[in-house]
């Protein structure tokens, strides 16, 4: 019997249908369990069918786009003559883990998995991530490469190329800034809803198992660069754009998806406004400098409840 699993990720419902098979099951994507829902409704962002009998599209019905090095292995991309796409996802050792075919607007996908459990996990997890990023782009949603920490109800996202020190910096917040907790360490989700920007945890969190179904208004986005001393500056909209866009999962060669993505980036900058570059060392002062500046615009929300507390204590006296 088929297994139908439903998940709600950043308030978008998705559905994964596993065709009866003793090798494929929701256990391959354990990181999705915190996001599991049941019978939510019929309104799904997309449905992915996992069916190992899927065959590659014949050459005459597809056009090769390119082979991309994702950092975790190559992905071979072809566009189909019906406007959809075919992806072959390889792992770091060059083994084909997943064959994925989608329709034009990414609302439907079918994938076949290959190899051992680890390869199947890799293939399915990444197929879902791509499908989610491309499909949700139509709904002012971004999958952003960032480490995300929460403080006083606001989410603070740190972006940079891998290895710069995003996670190191959020760890410094957890250690030195009281009331901080990690929302996601690699791929949180940003949404613009009714002119407000929110940021969410996701089932994709890199090497840190931090798969949390959490949501917060976006406090700030900060690009991290290494430096000999700690300083922070706010960025102009254009510069902010050049930092945020490369951090987002998109398909540059697909005009529609790419336009969706940069339109949303522009919306994020227009609605949230708080984009910074943080020049920093991996030390306590770096966390203090970034916290003080990034949280400053949101202090209003801290002081008002404190004020009412002060008032009530005055009344008591």
């Amino acid at each position: 019997m088929n297994n139908i699993s439903e998940y709600c990720i950043a308030e978008h419902n998705i559905r994964v249908v596993f065709t009866a098979n003793d090798r494929n099951s929701p256990e391959l994507i354990a990181s999705f369990e915190p996001f599991r829902t049941k019978g939510s409704n019929d309104d799904f962002l997309f449905t992915l069918h996992v069916d190992d009998t899927l065959k590659p599209i014949t050459k005459e019905h597809r056009e090769h786009i390119d082979t991309f090095d994702t950092g975790n292995g190559d992905t071979i991309v072809d566009q189909l003559d019906n406007g959809g796409y075919q992806y072959i996802l390889k792992d770091i050792e060059g083994r084909s883990c997943c064959l994925l075919q989608t329709n034009k607007d990414f609302s439907e996908g079918v994938c076949a998995l290959n190899g051992n459990e680890q390869m199947r996990h890799f293939g399915l997890n990444n197929a879902l991530m791509m499908l989610y990023a491309f499909r949700s782009s139509f709904f002012h949603t971004l999958l952003i490469h960032a480490s995300l920490v929460r403080n006083n109800g606001y989410g603070y996202a740190f972006i940079a190329k891998s290895g710069t020190g995003k996670s190191t910096h959020t760890q410094l917040w957890l250690k030195h800034i009281p009331g901080s907790d990690m929302m996601n360490d690699d791929n949180p989700i940003v949404r613009v809803i009714d002119g407000h920007t929110f940021i969410y945890g996701s089932p994709w969190s890199g090497k840190t198992p931090c798969y949390r179904d959490v949501k917060a208004p976006l406090g700030a986005i900060a690009q991290i660069t290494r430096a000999k001393s700690n300083s922070i500056e706010r960025l102009s909209p254009t510069i902010a754009f050049t930092y945020i866009l490369p951090a987002c999962s998109t398909m540059k060669w697909d005009k529609t998806v790419f336009r969706n993505t940069y339109d949303t980036v522009i919306k994020v900058i227009e609605t949230s406004q708080y984009v910074y570059v943080l020049h920093c060392l991996p030390d306590k002062e770096a966390a203090e400098v970034s916290f003080n500046t990034l949280s400053a615009p949101h202090q209003q929300n801290i002081t008002s409840p404190c004020k009412s507390q002060a008032n009530s204590s005055t009344t008591r006296n």
């Binding site: 390119d66 102009s236 909209p237 254009t238 754009f241 866009l245 540059k252 060669w253 940069y262 900058i269």
Partner: protein
Amino acid sequence: MGILPIPRTHKAFKSKKSKKTMKIKKGFVLRDICGENIIVAEGKENIDFTKIISMNESAALLWEGVKNKEFDAETLKELLCEEYDIDDATAENDAKALLDSWIKAGIVE
């Protein structure tokens, strides 16, 4: 003596003919972001173009003016003169400099 000066328009017409005209490259789109103007590269043919070009107000205006058509420095100059109260020489210099910067940036061909 006795030779009439060549009318400016005639001169312009001649130079236009001899020079190659330009066109904005396919996939380059002007976008407004909080009042600032940027050029974004779209599509498969621009997959390796990773720059974002920022433009001031007058450059953005000229970009819009020559969208979807063949143009040269003279076209840009005429647009500048129509829109701004500047003398011919300044407009010509600005138009040439702008076109050069567009060519250098690889956004026209």
